[in-house]
């Protein structure tokens, strides 16, 4: 069961890599967050821990509902074209994503998580999310993709946190959530400002400051 959800996360990540347009990207992110929520929820259910329930609820509220909504509403508000502007086309991106996944698998093996079958895969998925998130930020032109890439990375870290040590201390978790939320808002604000000043959100063209 858990493994299937994990594969779901991985799959949705690949979908994000292949996405060419903004709504597709946000939608895939929704799926991914939802799978993450499921995992945490199931873990909470298994171990019957209250704090994990709260975390799961927060994930559902923020990452599945609020943030995607906020992003897509900002996107429609500022009226830019929906394409993401790929540096690397989606096929090649997918191959790179696969390589990164393989790399993270090697990496998790190397790290010595030989214990459980589940956590081995979970860690692989978590790391691959971190790496693919970073890859998304690097290879897509638009400001939004960078926000989403960051969120993907963050999701990966959550997954990692949950799978290797059953989550962090509760208040830390909450603080991190709050932080993530604020940062997304701040970034959204800046995307808004960029659009206003430059009349585009193509961050690749933000290169006045160099050298």
């Amino acid at each position: 069961m858990m493994v299937i959800i994990l594969l779901g996360i991985l799959g949705s990540t690949f979908l994000m890599v292949m996405a060419k347009r903004m709504p597709a990207l946000i939608r895939s992110f929704c799926y991914q967050s939802f799978f993450l929520f499921l995992i945490i929820f199931i873990t909470a259910f298994k171990e019957n821990r209250l704090d994990l329930y709260v975390v799961a609820g927060l994930i559902f509220a923020l990452k599945v509902l609020v943030i995607p909504y906020f992003l897509s509403s900002t996107a429609t508000k500022i009226k830019v074209s929906e394409s993401l502007g790929l540096f690397i086309n989606s096929q090649l991106s997918l191959i790179i994503a696969l390589v990164l996944t393989y790399f993270s698998w090697m990496f998790s093996k190397n790290l010595g998580f030989t214990g459980e079958y589940f956590s081995g895969i979970a860690i692989t998925v978590a790391f691959s999310q971190v790496f693919i998130g970073a890859f998304l930020m690097i290879s897509r032109m638009k400001a939004f993709t960078q926000v989403i890439g960051l969120l993907v990375m963050e999701n990966g870290i959550f997954l990692l946190g949950v799978s290797i040590e059953e989550g962090m201390p509760f208040f830390v978790e909450i603080a991190i959530f709050f932080d993530v939320f604020v940062s997304v808002i701040v970034m959204g604000l800046f995307v808004y400002r960029i659009n206003k000043l430059f009349t585009h959100i193509d961050v690749n063209r933000l290169s006045r400051l160099k050298g």
Binding site: G112, V130, I157, P169, E173, V186, L209
Partner: protein, 485 residues
């Protein structure tokens, strides 16, 4: 108890902004507040030094000598920046660059920013540490993009994105650290004090990987090359007092975090690993900053690259270790904070006067603004590592440490890069400080509070070289308590 003052005053001040109408009055109140913070931090530092132990509240706040030292550094620069802000912001509002309302926002953000930076060293929980550092990024991003023009928004965007990515790696590292910790003892805690205690039992492999993530993550924030790319953009576009804070202390908070994790790594893995990584990144930082400083035209970017250089030196100092190396690095943290703030204040004045960042256009600064010009001249020599200024002392300590420990190549590179940077800095500054005044420039009188900020910093630049023999014992003790056992 002092920590209460230190942490609550900025919050109170940021609330007070809303109630005090006159901007000038508030500016003065603000700097008085920071004076209190400064004295509190000095008392705290003295207390910890004399107690020779750490103070802990609820396991949440943990103050040892390292924290006290960094709080001290932050409060020194914050006080200077608050002094400098009074006239700087007033001038901006008078000339219509920013509105009265924006000035208030500036003060709120300023206080929040200082609060978050003062908060960082006080925390025991490494997760909260991460949160606090991310908070500094988010708050200062607004201050970087404060003028809301194309350059500053671009800088702010780069700043926020690059730092966030970096810091996510740091979070990854933090989780791996806690994983290693939980494997070793079964206890579930993110408290630094707990982790250090059982550092020896942790899994070496995990610690190694975790430290790489920490180093890259917080290294991004600290401005270690090649993750430094946000730094020149952000520093050059921020409001001048904020540039000083960014360069003077924000980078240092990230270094603080690296040191915290570094101590655990050293105890778990051994010093060599830590040392190699730090020296490698330090040398790369030096090399890259050296090249950029040589051909730089933008005054504030030049200073930003100089910050990268000094962070590199600090990193090398930490990597070399020993009382000389780490002691030197600690002193360098302070010296660089003070000197670089001075330089950014000066640069702020100059940029305001000449309305350009381009050093090729600035000529005869010392004639148009004698006081600022003089301070910049002294600061330029100080930042380039000329005695009798304090940076020379800490640099020579680090160089000496490298040499005595047998890192000959490192010594050679350090000396070489520092010499080249010296040449470049002197070349750039002598050209714009001296020379003929451009047409239509009048000689101006500088405001008092600005002068006070300069003098406050300048005294420290000059004095530290002389104070060294007296603080020697404490410095040795500090390094020993932190890195031994």
């Amino acid at each position: 108890m002092q920590i209460l003052f230190i942490l609550t005053i900025p919050i109170l001040l940021s609330v007070a902004v809303l109630f005090i109408k006159k901007q000038r009055v508030f500016g003065i109140v603000n700097s008085m507040g920071y004076l209190v913070i400064l004295s509190a931090s000095i008392i705290l530092l003295k207390e910890i030094v004399s107690l020779r132990s750490s103070i802990s509240y609820f396991g949440f706040i943990y103050l040892d000598i390292l924290s006290a030292f960094f709080i001290f550094v932050v409060s020194v620069v914050a006080f200077a920046a608050s002094l400098y802000s009074i006239d700087y912001i007033r001038k901006d509002t008078e000339s219509g660059v920013i509105s009265e309302k924006k000035a208030k926002i500036y003060y709120i953000l300023f206080n929040l920013f200082c609060f978050s930076m003062l908060f960082v060293p006080a925390l025991n929980n490494l997760g909260m540490l991460w949160v606090a550092i991310e908070m500094t990024t988010l708050i200062s991003a607004f201050l970087v993009g404060f003028y809301n023009n194309k350059e500053s928004v671009e800088a702010a965007w780069k700043y926020i994105i690059i730092c966030s990515v970096g810091i996510i790696f740091a979070l990854l590292g933090t989780i791996l650290f806690s994983y290693a910790f939980s494997l070793s003892g079964g206890m579930k805690s993110l408290n630094w004090s707990d982790m250090v205690a059982s550092a020896g039992k942790m899994d070496k492999n995990t610690l190694k990987i975790a430290f790489i993530f920490i180093l890259v993550g917080y290294g991004t924030k600290a401005g270690l090359a090649p993750m430094h790319t946000w730094l020149p953009d952000a520093h050059s576009q921020a409001v001048a007092p904020i540039s000083a804070l960014l360069s003077g202390v924000l980078l240092k908070t990230a270094i603080y975090a690296i040191i915290r994790f570094g101590i655990i790594t050293i105890k778990g893995v051994g010093f060599q690993y830590f040392s190699n990584l730090m020296i490698l990144l330090g040398i790369i930082s030096l090399a890259i900053s050296c090249g950029f400083i040589l051909v730089q035209k933008d005054l504030k970017r030049l200073l930003a690259y100089s910050s990268i250089e000094h962070v590199g030196i600090i990193s090398i100092g930490l990597g070399i270790g020993g009382i000389l190396g780490i002691g030197g690095a600690m002193l360098h943290v302070f010296n660089h904070a003070v000197t670089k703030s001075l330089m950014f204040f000066g640069a702020g004045n100059v940029v305001n006067k000449y309305r350009t960042h381009n050093m090729h256009v600035m000529r005869g600064v010392i004639s148009t603004m004698p006081f600022t010009g003089f301070m910049l001249l002294m600061g330029a020599f100080a930042i380039a590592g000329m005695p009798p200024f304090s940076i020379f002392i800490s640099e020579i300590m680090i160089i000496c440490a490298a040499f005595l420990k047998g890192y000959y190549l490192v010594t050679f590179l350090l000396l070489g890069f520092i010499a080249i940077i010296f040449g470049a800095v002197v070349n750039h500054f002598s050209k714009s400080l001296f020379g003929n005044i451009p047409k239509g420039m009048a000689v101006v009188r500088e405001p008092l509070s600005g002068k006070l900020a300069f003098l406050f910093l300048f005294v420290q630049i000059c004095a530290l070289g002389l104070v060294l023999p007296f603080i020697k014992k404490d410095l040795v003790w500090m390094v020993q308590t932190l890195f031994q056992g």
